[in-house]
């Protein structure tokens, strides 16, 4: 298979170089090599998407409207918006435009997921392991996804620092980072951090904690240490200010792990907490309350519907699967009505992927909130746009189609929740990062093989 795939890849490359049809498609086409050197279409300064159905996720749906994009921002949106002179026009006739999809739980661009050696690894950073050529990113673009929350894995009670990124596929890795997004950190509770589902080899030691009580103790211990550490630094700062010349105090020892936790205590770093069962969600809320911070989002939170009032009262968001369940014991009470039930109780809910696969079709996942529990169309749309943006603290920038926001948009060939719909184009900052017309589709690959090897070779093997 490998050989054949390589041959096909070679066909793609050689045909792209020789054929005229291929020429215009050459840029983002190759999905196998040289990704770094392939140019992404330059950003047009002025773009207009005309005559489209615009689902704003904030102010309803405009049946036939225009979006004007200037320097990557939405400059105008509405039914009676004129196309400015000189704008690059994208004909939206028959198309549906939604805000670029925000996936609040992803590992797509990460070269590594878990620093699983200890149960507290607040010092490690996902932004250090991002790769811009992760193919999952391209497939997600092709599913209308524009922003990802790249999280550390769930092996640890307190995992690493997450990276909020825009799916600027093809640009250098540094360009992925979402400028100005608040920093965050991954927490995890339950079976994964207890490591009760894994096979322990002979001679291998079990890691603390093994119970949900131990998880709580670990959290309290870590934040108590962080409080102490913070007091030491505050005392040092005071002493330094009042110190006489030549008598500068000795600073406390710098601790990168506790630095991150102090930021949590000070509300400068958002906590995204992997969780399943109601009891552990309540435990986390209590710990957060006792230490004076807010959990920005509970991730998975499959039993969130049991304690929705408590989550809502704490001002935490909930980022859940549409219908995943039964894959482990703590997912046994998961119900697909989770998202709508929590939303009914006042929780801001997002639907995430936690998967390179599901991320490609989050629009279909969002529609399940309508199927199970009867969420409104706009609420379902918000669950993959505005609500996850709010959970990540970037809702002033993305998540809805409003003037002043980043022009991150997904254009569908039909209603995004309809069965025959697919993404035709995805824009980030007004720049077209995915266009199905120039994308490496199966149809196009078959056409290339036809051109190269003759029509019978496409579907080959006549024995």
């Amino acid at each position: 298979m490998r050989t054949i795939a390589m041959v096909l890849a070679a066909v793609v490359l050689s045909a792209a170089a020789s054929s005229a049809t291929a020429q215009q498609r050459a840029a983002p086409r190759d999905t196998t090599t040289k990704r770094l050197s392939y140019p992404v279409p330059p950003a047009a300064r002025l773009v207009a998407i005309t005559n489209a159905t615009i689902m704003t996720a904030a102010k309803g749906t405009i049946p036939k409207g225009t979006i004007v994009i200037r320097d990557g921002k939405i400059a105008a949106v509405g039914a009676d918006v004129a196309v400015p002179a000189g704008a690059q026009v994208i004909d939206g006739n028959g198309k549906f435009v939604i805000p670029g999809i925000v996936d609040a739980h992803s590992h797509s661009a990460a070269e590594a997921i878990n620093e699983g050696t200890q149960s507290i690894t607040a010092q490690v950073r996902m932004e250090d392991v991002l790769r811009q050529d992760a193919l999952g990113l391209y497939r997600e673009l092709a599913g209308g996804v524009t922003t990802l929350n790249i999280l550390h894995g769930s092996a640890n009670t307190i995992g690493g620092q997450n990276a909020t990124v825009k799916v600027r596929w093809g640009l250098p890795a540094d360009s992925l980072l979402f400028e100005g997004a608040p920093p965050g950190i991954k927490f995890a509770l339950g079976e994964n951090v207890r490591q009760t589902n894994r096979t322990v080899l002979p001679g291998q030691e079990r890691r603390y904690p093994r119970t949900r009580m131990g998880v709580e103790e670990l959290l309290r211990d870590a934040f108590t240490r962080a409080q102490e550490y913070r007091r030491d630094w505050q005392a040092y700062d005071r002493a330094r200010k009042s110190a006489k010349k030549g008598q500068a105090p000795v600073p406390p020892k710098r601790d990168l792990q506790l630095d991150a936790l102090v930021e949590v205590l000070e509300g400068k770093r958002l906590v995204h907490c992997h969780s399943y069962r109601a009891d552990e969600i309540l435990m986390m809320l209590q710990v957060a309350k006792d230490f004076g911070f807010r959990v920005a989002s509970f991730q998975h939170v499959l039993e969130g519907y049991k304690v929705a009032d408590e989550i809502a009262a704490a001002g935490s968001g909930a980022s859940t699967f549409a219908d995943n369940w039964a894959y482990k014991l703590e997912a046994w009470d998961a119900i697909p009505h989770n998202a709508t039930l929590m939303a009914e109780r006042g929780v801001r809910v997002s639907i995430n992927s936690d998967s390179d696969e599901r991320a490609r079709r989050l629009y279909q996942e969002a529609a399940k909130a309508m199927h199970y529990g009867g969420a409104s169309e706009e609420e379902a749309l918000k669950m993959i746009t505005l609500h996850p943006a709010w959970q990540l603290g970037i809702d002033k920038r993305v998540g809805s189609i409003e003037v002043g926001k980043d022009a991150d948009l997904a254009i569908f060939n039909g209603h995004p929740f309809a069965p025959a719909s697919r993404v035709e184009m995805t824009l980030i900052d007004g720049r077209v990062f995915f266009d199905r017309n120039t994308a490496p589709t199966l149809e196009y690959l078959m056409e290339l093989i036809r051109q190269q090897q003759g029509p019978r070779q496409v579907t080959e093997v006549v024995p």
């Binding site: 054949i4 999905t31 519907y305 529990g373």
Partner: protein, 443 residues
Amino acid sequence: MTTPRMRIAECGVLMAIGLAALPLLAQSGPQSAPASTVVIRNATIVPVTSARIQNGTIVLRNGRIEAVGANVNAPSGATVIDGTGLFVYPGMIDAGTQLGLTEIGSVPGGEDTQEIGDFNPHNVAVTAVNPHSELIPVTRVNGVTTAITSAEGGLISGQAGLIDLMGWTPTDMAVRRQAAMVVNYPSLGGGGFGGGGGRFGGGDQSDAERRAELDRRTRALRSYFADAKAYADVKARAANGGARKLNQAMEAMIPVIRGEMPVIFDVTTADQIRGVLALADTFKLKVVLRGAREAWRLADTLAMRRIPVIVGPTTSVPGAEDPYDMTYANPGVLARAGVKIAFQTSDAANSRNLPYNAALAVAYGLDADAALRALTINAAEMFGVADRIGSLEPGKVANVVVTTGDPMDVRSVVRHLFIRGQPVPLDDRHTRLYEQFRARPRS
């Protein structure tokens, strides 16, 4: 939409009417109790094998479809359902699941999905199907009434059963207890999710080692079929007509070797498919390909040879060198070439997403009507039960789904469900938990 509470209430009434007649009607044998008659009127009826009927009526009696059409008179004494604004479809068939054989993935005690050893043709999945699995009601309330269920792994995983998703016992559920042999065709590994099977080797194996292992396993599979053929030949020539059963595994292979029992080959790549075709030529097998996300490479060949393909899950990620839409677009390419396709989820807990798998294929080029056939009648044809299930035709088993719209549209909701003519309550573990916690007093 109505609340689930209302739906459950409606179903409670229907349950009361229908429960008495559970002994299942597709099985031969006497019916122990008269089933009630149900009439659905004023609905858009989509028989699948013929044109859709606006304002149509369908009559279900004694577990069968008695009549379908625009001008059908409702028999007196029937339970009447007003289908205004609703759509009637045949129950959908998931042609690849582990339903009944698994419950909670991480709890080994409930898993009957993988046997030890490479060759288990004698293992019959229906034997271990738990009719009371919580996964089953969750699946059927989305309109999936029937499933192929089987173990996986090894080279010959065992015999798949075709089951309706309701019944007191595994035997009740079986439409065909021994519907097909499942073969996990060897691959080089790394084929990703979706029936690529026969994988082996870890990351520390060299390419040459992996190739050698693939060759070894391919030869082992081929020689097993050769043994089975020899066994069948010897038995056929035996003086006593081969009546003595000497080897359970070989006995199980006889219908396969005779070309009577379909063989589902779980494959991913074009190379594997070529291997399957060669094997089929040697042993004259009745082949059904499954998974097969590179089947587009051989679409014309498969059409010409009339080899059906169970595609999916479309919700699998293509290989690193593949076009981004390959798993979505593959079904459309096959169908346009004339290959008979059906769909599988290769799942259990979310077998309910079968129609949404098909929706992705429709979005990427599969004709919507072809998709409906692939979800219903085609699978029935592949396993020889198209005279009983897979469409809304008089005389067929009444596996009937009444929905608010296209079942491939996630927004559609099932309003009434009948399996073998029995009204099926639309509640499950999920609706029960939903109702329970929806009623939690606000704190």
